[in-house]
């Protein structure tokens, strides 16, 4: 296999990969003649990168990961550091990339691509006359009987539990740092434990909603968009205390200079203002550059305006919840152990 004109880009698969293919890969291949191989291993990216690094044989060129994974990779020296101002394209108006991305540059190794949020969808035909407006509806089994689906991990769920148990938004992580706070969150979750279907694959909640198996469930906003708009299911979205998160690129450490140069070239192309805005034609995730937002247009097939469906849309972002990467990097193992023990009980 000739390294010169092939590169392996790792991503999540499904509709998301398709949007990347349309927005980035195809134009890039057309420009440069580089053949892009799509690997759909993002879910195992950290593990695989670590093993590749251990073996000294890195086969991936560019990897799409969530911010938390990017930070882990960066910490462990598995991803290379990228300087936004020299190695990324500036905005059309000349704003340097570091400013254009702003706060979203959460790690030195990570170039954000989209902003997504984890939020709730609900069956419009199963919630009666009073559709839920608050996140705490998930804990209200009286008003909304039926199952709800939650992701099978502590992250997000613990925060929502505390929020709905009366903890102020800004105190959530301080409380969660303590054993009592963790107990409190689990106790809150315990009230709905029997009504929860836990999901681990992103496609689960849409399927469960479409089947009517659950009244409401958490998932990524892009998937809910697809269920509601593309598939025409009787489902609606709840924009409240949705957890804001980022997804973007890293370049594995340890690539040969030529491969590294090409990966950087790809990234520079794929994260420019227009490309990021283009991606939103195929999937309802917000571009990570401030300068891209005005360029977001219409859905490629359906022709509807995409802006109102973006998590970045001001209407939707009225009450968002910010995710604390630092906290979870430290407490992930510990809380996860407790969470799984609680689940298994």
């Amino acid at each position: 296999q000739d390294m010169a004109d092939e590169m392996t880009i790792v991503s999540w698969g499904g509709a998301y990969s398709k949007s990347q293919k349309n927005a980035y890969h195809d134009p890039y291949s057309a420009n440069t003649g580089v053949k892009i191989i799509n690997d759909e291993s993002s879910a195992e990216a950290v593990a695989k990168l670590r093993a590749m690094n251990e073996a000294g044989n890195v086969t991936w060129d560019v990897v799409d990961v969530v911010a938390a994974d990017a930070m882990r990779l960066c910490d462990e020296g598995l991803a290379m550091e990228i300087d936004p101002d020299t190695q990324l394209a500036a905005a059309p108006d000349g704003t340097p990339a570091s400013e254009d991305f702003g706060d979203l540059l959460v790690s030195e190794c990570f170039i954000p691509q989209i902003v997504y949020s984890t939020t709730f969808g609900y069956r419009t035909d199963l919630v009666g006359d009073t559709p839920p407006t608050s996140i705490c509806a998930i804990f209200d089994t009286e008003a909304y009987p039926g199952k709800r689906s939650l992701e099978k991990r502590p992250i997000n769920n613990m925060e929502w539990a505390l929020l709905c148990d009366g903890v102020a938004k800004e105190d959530v992580y301080d409380v969660l740092e303590t054993d009592e706070g963790q107990e409190q969150a689990l106790a809150k979750l315990d009230t709905i434990k029997d009504d929860v279907i836990w999901w681990s694959a992103g496609a689960d909640t849409p399927q469960l909603l479409a089947d009517g198996e659950v009244v409401m469930g958490s998932t990524y906003n892009g998937r809910l968009f697809s269920v509601i708009v593309e598939q025409n299911q009787p489902v609606a979205m709840l924009w409240d205390a949705q957890v804001y998160d980022l997804d973007g690129w890293i370049i594995p450490a340890g690539l040969s200079p030529e491969r590294q140069a090409r990966a950087l070239d790809y990234i520079m192309f794929a994260t420019d203002t227009q490309r990021l805005a283009d991606q939103a034609k195929w999937i309802s995730y917000g571009p990570a550059r401030a300068s891209s937002a005005p360029l977001v247009g219409k859905h490629a097939d359906l022709g509807i305006d995409m802006a109102p469906h973006m998590p970045t849309d001001p209407n939707n972002a009225k009450n968002t919840f910010l995710y604390n990467y630092e906290f979870w990097a430290d407490y992930r193992d510990d809380i996860d152990g407790k969470f799984q023990a609680w689940l298994a009980k």
Binding site: Q1, S17, E44, A51, A55, W60, P206, Q207
Partner: protein, 391 residues
């Protein structure tokens, strides 16, 4: 004077048994319409009447059974539209067959004359139980097939489908499978990997099985345990172990790596089936060949191989399906370039549930049936051959 008395049953008996079956079905129809008790009574009454009436007109079996089918179909259509009419046809066919089967004592014809009614009942109950278990076995396939024609993108029986509305069905998932580059790549990868892995495991495995079946093999048990181990080591452990190890030696993410991993997983099947075939293999045949001047290699290819071929083929098919249906190991050991069908399915289930998976499965089931038929034919052939040497 015939010994197994096949005489017609009294109308009373037929009516009673038919009534009990009527009551059984009536219970369901009744509860679905509101009143279980009424359903039981009506069902029993209808079947009893039919049983009584028909058992005195045994000579016109054909016309009456057609009439019953038609009648129930019409009743069904009137009550519940097309789906109910289909059910009506089924029920009409069943009730006609059942009543005549009872009335003409056909149910006793193949049973020993001394069986008591209880034993006869048990005989048929047992068969029904077995039928239920067989149904359980193929249930997933029965579910998968119609769903693969779903017009929607979810694993759901839509109301349109249940109404037999043509709009509820479509071939789009088959089109997706045939037209989508990802699926085609995956299919192509599976086709590249599975046969290669099979060839490896079959050739090494057969050789080793022959070695193991020799009379004096030192450490036979230990060797056997090692060769069987890929089957008994939990898959996740194998996958992780191979992943780390193959990464280190540069096999991870290569075609060769996946082939080797799959070959090793298929080996226990080859060893087990070929050893089983060799247990029945008559050593005097190879001795006879040697005796006539054939060297070991000639003996193997001319005498032993043709005779154990069915075992080898069957082991090979198991090895093939192991590779063709394997997802855990390939997820770890493979990379994008080796994405196989099961991997693609797995991604499909994780990232985007789409009945394309079911369409693929339906196609594969069709291929399996063909393969199984081949296997069965080979087995018959081998039995014919094996039946030859006396003793």
């Amino acid at each position: 004077m015939a010994l197994t008395p096949v005489e017609n049953q009294t109308p009373g008996f037929v009516a009673a048994v038919a009534a009990s079956s009527g009551a059984f079905f009536g219970l369901f129809v009744g509860t679905s319409q509101g009143s279980g008790l009424l359903g039981i009574l009506v069902g029993a009454a209808i079947m009893a009447a039919l049983g009584f009436a028909l058992s005195s007109m045994l000579d016109k079996e054909k016309p009456f059974r057609w009439a019953l089918i038609a009648a129930f179909a019409v009743v069904g259509y009137v009550l519940g539209g097309l789906p109910a009419a289909v059910l009506g046809v089924l029920f009409g066919w069943f009730s006609g067959w059942f009543i005549f089967w009872l009335a003409t004592s056909r149910y006793r014809a193949h049973l020993a004359p001394y069986l008591t009614p209880g034993q006869v009942l048990w005989h048929y109950t047992f068969r029904v139980i077995c039928g239920v278990i067989f149904t359980f076995l193929i249930t997933p396939i029965l579910v998968v097939m119609p769903l693969s024609f779903n017009a929607q993108d979810f694993f759901t029986f839509t109301p349109e489908m249940l109404r037999f509305d043509p709009a509820g069905y479509s071939l789009k998932h088959y089109q997706d499978f045939l037209g989508n580059q990802d699926w085609q790549n995956a299919l192509w990868n599976s086709i590249r990997i599975a046969p290669m892995a099979t060839v490896l495991s079959v050739s090494f495995g057969t050789l080793a099985a022959i070695g193991l079946s020799q009379p004096h093999v030192p450490f036979r048990r230990a060797i056997m345990a090692i060769l069987i181990s890929p089957m008994i080591v939990p898959l996740i452990i194998s996958a992780a172990g191979m992943y780390f190890f193959y990464s280190r030696i540069g096999l991870q993410g290569t075609y060769m790596g996946v082939v080797l991993a799959h070959a090793v997983l298929g080996i226990p099947f080859v060893i087990i089936t070929v050893t089983a075939t060799l247990v029945g293999f008559d050593r005097s045949l190879t001795r006879a060949a040697a005796n006539m001047g054939a060297d070991p290699v000639t003996t193997f290819f001319r005498v032993q191989m043709p005779l154990i071929l069915p075992g080898v083929v069957s082991g090979g098919l198991f090895a093939f399906i192991t590779s063709f249906d394997e997802v855990v190991v390939v997820l770890f050991v493979g990379s994008a370039g080796q994405k196989t069908l099961p991997w693609q399915m797995f991604i499909g289930l994780r990232e985007q549930i789409s009945p394309t998976i079911l369409a693929v499965a339906t196609i594969l089931v069709g291929i399996s049936v063909l393969l199984l038929a081949t296997l069965e034919m080979l087995r018959r052939r081998s039995e014919r051959l094996r039946g030859m040497s006396p003793g």
